[in-house]
Amino acid sequence: MAVITDIADALVAQLNAATLSQPITAERHYLPRFDLPEMQTLHITVVPKGVVLALGDRSRGQGDYSLDVAVQQKFTTDDNAELDVLTNLVEEIADHFRGRRLASYPDAAWLKTEQTVLYAQEHLAELRQFTSVLTFTYRVLR
């Protein structure tokens, strides 16, 4: 399989094995697409985002692989308490991967995590749905 696919699967496996404040089920998708009624339950979606290739050393190339992890759920009230739980979960996920290699793909070194969408305000307003996106970047020399 392609490196980015392997990394995505490793990310999914590690997410599903993680002990977080609430149980989660992450899935990898090429074309993530959901109907709003499905979003009553928590969705964690891993989507390959991009690859930047460069020279690593004399014999190897260096690839920086970016993957989005979307955390989404419709909320029932718009109380801070309900949304705080999801915001906290996003931070837990970010912390879980910071500085660590992926257990099932240790060739990938964590490079950075960006919270590219802290929370999508238009989703809060128009869908009454929490959406936050983390972008993980891993470096592989090969």
Binding site: H29, L31, P32, R33, F34, D35, L36, P37, M39, Q40, H43, T45, V47, K49, D68, A70, Q72, K74, T76, T77, D78, V117, A120, E122, H123, A125, E126, L127, R128, Q129, T131, V133
Partner: protein, 121 residues
């Protein structure tokens, strides 16, 4: 002299309610009321702004303001309320996202909703 336009609007709304409505249940928490609603704009849309595409159906309901009475109190719609519509043995559940008055005389609510679930009766 009476405002002829206002009288005309009231007459039209009365006709709409009599001839172009169906019963829906408006729900807020444990409080509910059955009201006559005209189904307005209904469209299927997609939001693909953030890594994941979300498809949804939007629907507007027109409800006479005077009909929206919950637990004995006249209320205005509120985000998170539900409009439940029975159709072919199912209940379509719509969640209120926003609302506005649909006429200058504040007689009718245009309630913007999104479909969030379907229940079998």
């Amino acid at each position: 002299m009476a405002d002829l336009l206002e009288r005309g609007v009231l007459w039209l709304q009365d006709q709409r309610t009599k001839h172009c409505t169906r019963d829906v249940t408006y729900v807020r928490g444990a409080a509910l009321v059955v009201v006559k609603a005209t189904v307005g704009r209904t469209q299927y849309e997609t939001d693909d702004g953030h890594a994941v595409r979300v498809d949804f159906t939007e629907r507007d309901f027109l409800i006479q303001a005077a009909d929206l009475v919950l637990s004995g109190n006249a209320v205005t719609p509120k985000a998170g309320d539900q409009v439940r519509e029975s159709q072919n043995g199912q209940v379509l559940v719509f969640e209120v996202i926003d609302w506005r008055y649909s006429d200058p005389y504040r007689q009718t609510f245009r309630i913007e909703t999104k479909h969030v679930g379907t229940e079998t009766i």
